[in-house]
């Protein structure tokens, strides 16, 4: 890398200094000089298509787009002139005339409609051209968002976001000229799409009402909302969230652009499932009376629990948590050690080994993008860690990194893989191919999950590392270990025992009292537990207390159910797979009679 040269030049008479190679737009923005844009979006490749950022360079008759033109030392750039204003205005008028942009009719408005904003900025009060208004379809087949082609200005931001951020390339533009249309896959609907991950990056990138979140539609502009930044607890990636609320309700969730982890991007889970999915929330304590759970007061519920707790000896009491808790809650639990015999954290099969030696790699997500080969063993990032999957896709597709996948299940990353095999395969033919694929690889990355922790998985891993080590000049592989639980590693590190199989753990000593902290896991944590079957021991226990936010099979088995806080009501910290301490900030006040996990535990075991 050569040291970047500094250059200086004038923008609108203001002397600006910048690194050589920066575009006029970048420098202007850094110097607080406003240049209107529509197709430009930070983080996406400049496109130069909307023609609003056009500027003049003194002495040249041509006008150039500021977003793609690198600044040249000594030039004088003009961003405001009558000529530019008129051209920009005319371009906007053409856009307004092209499709239906009648703002009052646009209820999908996300608040900062770029087109509307530029209309105001340029003083557009009428359109000189007849409206063309073709009747275009609206695709509302996706679960969480829709696309109304009538509002589209074809700025290509969604196409680039889908391609460059999510790496899915679901969207593209079809046809030519005035018949241009953004299409999904081969002109299908979102519902028919085989590539769309529903990450919503297209929606957040859309400057108009074309792509809209269904749950956010008709809810007023985002600009009118309060914004709170917190952290997603759906998986160990720990993405930063930017939550928009209004009158104590969530209006929308976007990625936090300043988060060093996800830099604004989210997967479908963090973006939609936590708030746009209708889920039955438990809002009051429930106590089983006459065989049925009935609403109760906290006092009543805690009384019932305390009575049951008293009836059991310390050795007959246990606490089972799911790995979603904050680090602070973990501390509280450790503090309870004197009062309960056993404290366990339920983890996925083979995950205990992962928890035993956490492989935190600082900045792993950033480093991954420099990898020239990515090997995935026993993990399904495209299902479980969407943002990681996006980074893998873009690294493979845009930078040409090789991709090797060893996993039993098919995933939608398979189509990009150079080698795709079952994790148990040790066929020599395959290994020759693997070796050939990895020859010359200098910056490998290995992403592994719990399924890699089986004996054969470990063998595969070792074999791979051996192959990589033979590459001369190659670095030690970047290792990224993934757990199913969002905070498993930190919780294990805090001292919680990782329990893979709940049945034997429960059966080890007969229990009379079991407190389960399910938290806001949408299925009460059953997905993990059900992989091994709900332990038969549960119904045998006198008192099962479940602390959960949502109703589930688990709560059905409980004697007492306590309403827990959900992600947007929590405070504290979690530690992500890179070892970062990430802060949770309550977005909304506790709903109903729900309480935070630690507070509940303290009351129960007071």
């Amino acid at each position: 890398m050569t040291a970047t040269k500094k250059i200086s030049f004038h923008i609108d008479g203001q002397l600006c200094e910048a690194d050589d190679g920066r575009t006029i737009l970048q420098v202007a923005r850094a110097n607080n000089i406003a240049i209107p844009t529509l197709c430009y979006m930070e983080g996406l490749t400049p496109w130069g298509g909307c023609r609003l950022c056009i500027v003049e360079i003194e002495g040249s008759p041509k006008i150039v787009p500021a977003c793609t033109t690198p600044a040249v030392a000594g030039t004088k750039i003009i961003t405001k002139s009558d000529r530019l204003h008129n051209l920009r205005k005319a371009t906007l008028e053409l856009l307004f005339s092209e499709r239906n942009h009648i703002c009052p009719m646009c209820q999908y408005n996300k608040g900062d409609c770029g087109l509307q904003h530029q209309g105001y900025v340029h003083g557009i009060d009428s359109i000189r051209y007849p409206y063309l208004f073709p009747a275009l379809p609206v695709d509302v087949s996706a679960k969480y968002f829709g696309m109304d082609h009538n509002r589209c200005i074809l700025c290509g931001r969604c196409v680039r976001a889908c391609d460059e951020i999510e790496g899915a390339h679901t969207l593209d533009v079809a046809s030519r000229g005035i018949r241009n249309r953004v299409i999904v896959d081969m002109n299908q609907t979102f519902a028919e799409s085989s590539t769309c991950t529903q990450c919503g990056a297209c929606v957040t990138s859309c400057p108009t009402g074309t792509l809209f979140d269904k749950a956010a539609a008709f809810r007023g502009p985002l600009a009118s909302c309060q914004q709170v930044f917190t952290t997603c607890t759906e998986c160990p990636i720990g993405c930063g969230l930017r939550v928009f609320t209004k009158e104590n309700r969530i209006v929308n969730v976007w990625g936090d652009p300043n988060s060093p982890v996800n830099r604004g991007h989210l997967c479908v889970k963090g973006r939609y499932e936590t708030w746009a999915e209708p889920r039955e929330r438990i809002l009051t304590p429930l106590v089983r009376k006459n065989g049925a759970l009935q609403k109760a007061t906290w006092v009543e519920a805690l009384d019932t629990i305390r009575k049951a707790a008293k009836a059991a000896k310390k050795t007959e009491k246990a606490l089972l948590v799911l790995p979603r808790l904050t680090n602070e809650t973990a501390k509280t639990i450790i503090g309870l050690a004197g009062k309960i015999d056993r404290v366990g954290m339920h983890v996925a099969t083979n995950e205990a080994a992962l928890c035993a030696q956490p492989d935190y790699t600082a900045d792993a997500l950033t480093k991954l993008q420099d990898a020239d080969a990515i090997i995935i063993i026993g993990a399904q990032p495209s299902r479980d860690q969407g943002v990681l999957a996006a980074r893998i896709r873009t690294t493979v597709r845009k930078k040409g990194a090789k991709l090797l996948i060893f996993h039993a299940r098919k995933t939608n990353l398979d189509q990009f893989a150079d080698v795709r095999a079952n994790v148990v395969s040790l066929e020599s033919k395959l290994w020759k191919r693997v070796a050939a694929t990895l020859a010359g690889v200098k910056r490998p990355a290995v992403v592994y999950g719990s399924n890699a922790m089986t004996p054969i998985g470990v063998t595969v891993l070792e074999q791979l590392i051996k192959i990589l080590e033979t590459n001369q000049g190659g670095q030690a592989p970047l290792l990224i270990g993934l757990t199913a639980g969002s905070n498993s590693l930190a919780l294990a590190g805090a001292g919680l025992e990782a329990v893979e199989e709940v049945g034997p753990w429960l059966d080890a000593k007969p229990l009379k009292f079991l407190h389960i902290v399910a938290g806001d896991a949408p299925d009460g944590g059953l997905q993990v537990m059900e992989e091994n079957g709900v332990p038969a021991a549960l119904p045998q226990i006198d008192c099962v207390v479940v602390q959960a936010a949502y109703q589930s099979h688990l709560t059905d088995l409980a004697k007492v159910v306590l309403p827990a806080a959900i992600w947007c009501e929590k405070s504290g910290t979690i530690t992500n797979f890179e070892g970062r301490q990430l802060k949770l900030t309550p977005v909304l006040p506790l709903h109903g009679e729900a309480r935070e996990d630690a507070a509940i535990l303290e009351s129960v075991f007071a």
Binding site: W47, G48, G49, C50, R51, I54, I63, V64, P65, T68, T69, P70, R83, L87, A90, T91, L94, L95, S97, E98, R128, Y129, P130, L132, I153, L154, G156, D172, V173, S175, R176, G177, I178, R179, N180
Partner: protein, 1021 residues
């Protein structure tokens, strides 16, 4: 290698193969074998020779005989004649479009011998699928020289010396471009050949590839060596299957020969070429879009910088040049940059291949040095528009080029010169348009192409072109308003300045240039709802109606007559044309030029049919009945007084309508009776005076008053006229003679034709000698000739151009000759020979030859030294008349630079707000119908000015008649005008042409195809 006594080269380019050259080739091989000549005559397949319209073409060596239309069926005869009997087979020899004489060899063919072929030096000469033939013509010698003797810098220096500029359109200096790329250190580098030739009507790249693919390959290898690239791509459109095939063959042969691949000529330089097939998007000719397309992405342009030389294909330094540029490179290396720089102009060196298309006689490819005037390539090489049509404009540089009008044909073909006119060089397409092209439609057509091909990335191009297209379509439908032109111009500026790439930036060119040079056509569409060229169908009832200067509803009266409604038919006719019996005899009938029936057999005889209707009406009480009906619709008196000066066709028609509109109209004329030229210039045998009398009576009955023997400026004071009337219509005609400008013009016995005809129509007998020579080729020359014949003289007509160029009605000329006149064409008068009493003894004429084409597409006669004397005692000059400018000056009215009266073309208003003008007085001598058309339009305009309303259409009757399209082919063949036998009409003054019989007139009605019936328009929503 076997020796052959002759080679027959048959073109297998795309043009000729589509007209059957492969079958002709097989037939040639077969027939030669049959004749036992297979070892003597060799059949060679070559690429394009440039005359695709004559295909399949073949060239015989060594004699150079050039055969056209060599279809398989004619091959046996061709072989028998040319190769067995040893004489050219005349049937397949081309003819010179001008002289109509047979062209024996390629060298004699103006189309070929005016070109200078450098890029196309091998085209049509070698077999493109055989590398040995290319090598035999010094192929790959340049590569050897460059790779083994020169350093890359030397190659670049040589290209810079040559002054070669990119042939793709922008004309960037190739050497400079190469140098920029060579300096970039990044590796790998790529070179690309842009063969995505997408302009409609342009096929020079295709033809070079099909005819000489190795020259492109060699150029690319040399360029890659100079710039340090080791991989090249040829991006060629899928629509060129033959070119793709031949390129692939050339590349394969190149590898086999070792000019491609590793270590070429042991120089250590490696180079590979791959073909990439484009899917037919015009925008992929734009280099950044082209590279995206090669990468397998959507072909959309990216703003520059970064330029391809820094970051191109896959982000690596890339050089793109056009096919023609690449194929020029080997020639420059072989023959030297300094040699190349001697050709062309200061700023543009070398030659350029142009594709001639559109309304042009010689369609095909022509290679000429830069700087050749447009005029030369269009007329001298291209032969001008076919069928004697008048040249109107040329569109250079493809759909985004500009239109250049005939007045600018001196422009040299050069990048900067074309740019100055708002056009571009582009890839070298020249689309020629003639009088039948509507320039609004032309702009619409080209814009439609650009709109369709816009990639849609940037709104100015995507939406702007669509909005412009909508405006143009609106104007073509006659729904435009004048403000639309401003809107259009403003949009042009936005699209041109704000668009991302060249496609959008140049898309407005056709609109801007047509607006600049043909604004009047736009205005005509908007103001008059007329398309003079007859292209915009929404603006016309039918082609005949549109062409008629009076816009007569011809299908209407034909149908009414067909339905036996003579009275209605006459009413329709006389309302459209108040002098139908006169025009029925003397009209130039331009309607027939556009009659669609002509495509089936011959045009409908519309003139004679409306004459039949008029004669039938005037010879019965029908005219009176119709007059009553017309007077019923006469508007109430407006109290406005209008003076019409001149009782000729223009004045009479204007007065007729103005009177019906309720104005008080007085017609003043210096003559003792009404009719103007009709009465005082047209001879009795052509238009009997009694016919004029009846028509004038009809007009008088409509309420027009006449004041004769009053001359404007003398007995009629203009000030008084102006004071007493609300409006004045000047329809003075043209009566002043023009001068020949030759010695002896003061001779006795020399008459201007009009003076002569005038005198004879008054019944006077001008002193005519025995031998009369008439100078000129117009109607008045023929009238003078036939009048002289009737006076017993011996008549010779002398005309300086060919007979085809004569403006007179061809039938009249034929009749004059039948009656005994002698016609000498290609002869110009140079001197009138007189005796000492200034009496004429003869006319000295010089033989003329066809010279350069003028802007009207006619060859100007050039006087030779070969002269001869026609003995005669009288000379009548019939070379046109001009308006008496003394009247204009006396009135203080503004005149044009050509000394004609200046009027607003839309309102016919002169510089004096009250004064309007019409007829020959404005246009210069034209014909009766045109003059009447002006009178009609002036009346409409005067009425609008006086009343503030458009009331004209209210005068018309409404007739319901059948709107069913007649079955094809009804009515039989055309009924020509009736004519007395020559013995009967010679020497007689009676109408030489009797009226149609009823049967004949009806037959013509049945022959009409009813183009006025329009199919219900498809729902476009």
């Amino acid at each position: 290698m076997a020796n052959f006594r002759a080679h027959i080269l048959i073109c297998t380019g795309t043009g000729c193969t589509s007209s059957g050259s492969f079958a002709a080739r097989d037939a040639l091989v077969r027939e030669l074998k049959k004749a036992g000549l297979e070892n003597e005559v060799r059949v060679v397949e070559t690429g394009c020779m440039g005359r695709c319209d004559l295909g399949p073409v073949a060239l015989v060596y060594p004699d150079g005989t050039f055969y056209r239309s060599v279809v398989a069926a004619d091959v046996p005869k061709l072989v028998a004649e040319h190769f067995v009997k040893g004489r050219p087979y005349e049937k397949l020899l081309p003819r010179d479009p001008v002289t109509n004489s047979i062209v024996a060899t390629q060298q004699d063919f103006a189309f070929f011998n005016l070109q200078s072929r450098i890029v196309r030096e091998n085209c049509g000469i070698i077999n493109p699928e055989n590398i040995d033939e290319y090598v035999a013509r010094d192929g790959y010698a340049a590569l050897g020289k460059a790779l083994t003797e020169w350093k890359p810098e030397q190659v670049i220096a040589e290209i810079k010396t040559s002054g070669l500029r990119g042939r793709g359109g922008a004309g960037f200096p190739t050497g400079v471009k190469w140098e920029l790329m060579a300096k970039v250190p990044t590796k790998p580098k790529y070179v690309i050949c842009n063969a995505d030739e997408g302009d409609p009507g342009a096929f020079m790249n295709r033809s070079v590839i099909e005819a000489d693919p190795h020259s492109v390959v060699e150029g690319m290898i040399i360029g890659a060596y100079a710039m340090g690239a080791n991989r090249g791509f040829i991006y060629i459109r899928a629509e060129y299957p033959l070119a793709i095939k031949r390129l692939q063959i050339a590349i394969d042969q190149g590898y086999k020969l070792g000019v491609l691949g590793k270590n070429i000529f042991e120089s250590g330089f490696d180079f590979d070429i791959e073909l990439r097939i484009g899917a037919g998007a015009f925008v992929c000719g734009e280099e950044t879009a082209l590279m995206r397309s090669i990468e397998g992405r959507r072909g959309q342009p990216m703003p520059r910088p970064p330029f391809p030389a820094q970051s191109g294909l896959w982000g690596k330094p890339t050089n793109i040049n056009n096919v023609e540029t690449w194929s020029t490179v080997p020639i420059i290396i072989r023959r030297g940059g300094a040699w190349y720089a001697t050709i062309g102009t200061e700023k543009a060196k070398g030659t350029k291949v142009f594709a001639l298309a559109g309304k042009i006689t010689n369609t095909g490819l022509a290679e000429v040095p830069f700087g050749t005037p447009l005029h030369d390539i269009i007329f001298e090489i291209g032969g001008g528009p076919p069928n004697g049509k008048q040249f109107k404009a040329v569109q250079s540089g493809g759909p985004s080029g500009g239109v250049i009008p005939s007045s600018l044909l001196d422009t040299p073909l050069e990048y900067e010169a074309l740019q100055k006119l708002g056009s571009i060089m582009g890839s070298g397409g020249l689309v020629i348009m003639d009088e039948d092209s509507c320039m609004v439609d032309v702009a619409r057509f080209f814009l439609e192409f650009c709109c369709d091909e816009s990639c849609g990335k940037c709104p100015p191009c995507r939406v702007g072109t669509k909005q412009m297209l909508n405006l143009l379509e609106k104007i073509c439908r006659g729904e435009g308003v004048l403000e639309d032109l401003d809107r259009l111009e403003a949009l042009c500026q936005v699209v041109r300045n704000a668009s991302l790439c060249g496609l959008g930036q140049t898309a407005p060119n056709p609109v801007l240039t047509t607006l600049k040079h043909f604004r009047h056509e736009y205005e005509q569409h908007i103001r008059e709802h007329r398309c003079a060229a007859g292209v915009c169908t929404a603006l016309q009832l039918s082609p005949c109606e549109n062409t008629c200067p009076l816009n007569m509803n011809i299908p209407g009266f034909l149908q009414l007559l067909k339905e036996d409604r003579l009275e209605d038919a006459f009413e329709q006719v006389v309302m459209d044309n108040p002098l139908p019996a006169s025009t029925g005899r003397v009209c130039q009938h331009s309607c027939e030029n556009r009659c669609r029936r002509a495509g089936a057999d011959a045009s409908v005889n519309m003139r004679e049919t409306h004459r039949y209707i008029a004669d039938m009406a005037y010879n019965s009480d029908l005219a009176k009945k119709v007059l009553k009906r017309i007077l019923k619709r006469k508007r109430a008196a407006t109290g406005k007084k209008i003076a019409v000066v001149g009782a000729g066709p223009a004045g009479l028609s204007g007065a007729f309508y103005l009177a019906l509109l309720g104005h008080k109209v007085t017609v003043y004329d210096s003559a003792p009776n009404a009719g103007g030229m009709l009465r005082y210039a047209l001879p009795e045998y052509r238009l009997p005076k009694h016919v004029v009398d009846k028509e004038v009576a009809f007009i008088r009955a409509a309420g027009v008053q006449f004041k004769f023997n009053t001359t404007l400026g003398k007995t009629l004071k203009f000030e008084q006229l102006e004071k007493q009337h609300d409006a004045v219509l000047l329809a003075l005609g043209t009566w002043q003679e023009t001068l020949l400008g030759i010695p002896g013009e003061d001779a006795r016995g020399l008459y201007p034709s009009l003076e002569f005809l005038n005198a004879s129509s008054y019944g006077q007998k001008p002193p005519l000698g025995k031998k009369v020579v008439i100078i000129g080729g117009g109607n008045s020359a023929i009238d003078a000739a036939r009048t002289s014949l009737r006076m017993g003289a011996e008549v010779t007509i002398v005309y300086r151009r060919s007979r085809e160029d004569m403006p007179a009605i061809p039938e009249e000329t034929r009749q004059a000759i039948e009656e005994g006149a002698r016609l000498i064409t290609m002869a110009a008068p140079v001197r009138i020979i007189t005796d000492k009493n200034r009496r004429i003894t003869g006319l000295e004429t010089a033989k003329t030859v066809a010279g350069k084409f003028d802007s009207r597409g006619r060859r100007s006669p050039v006087i030779t030294k070969e002269t001869y004397v026609i003995p005669c005692d009288t000379v009548i000059k019939a070379i046109g008349e001009k308006a008496d400018s003394t009247v204009t000056q006396a009135l203080g009215l503004e005149t044009t630079s050509r000394n004609t009266l200046k009027v607003n073309p839309w309102t016919h208003q002169t510089s004096h707000p009250k004064v309007y003008a019409a007829g020959d007085y404005v246009t210069g001598s034209a014909n009766v119908s045109i003059a009447m058309g002006w009178g009609k339009k002036a009346a409409k305009s005067i009425d609008r000015a006086l009343t503030g309303e458009d009331r004209f259409e209210k005068l018309w009757p409404h007739f319901d008649y059948s709107q069913t399209i007649p079955p094809a082919g009804q009515g039989g063949g055309r009924n020509p005008e009736r004519l007395l036998p020559v013995e009967e009409r010679r020497g007689t003054w009676v109408d030489v042409s009797p009226t149609f019989t009823e049967w004949q007139a009806k037959a013509e009605c049945f022959r009409c195809l009813r183009c006025d019936i329009k199919a219900p328009e498809a729902n476009t929503h």
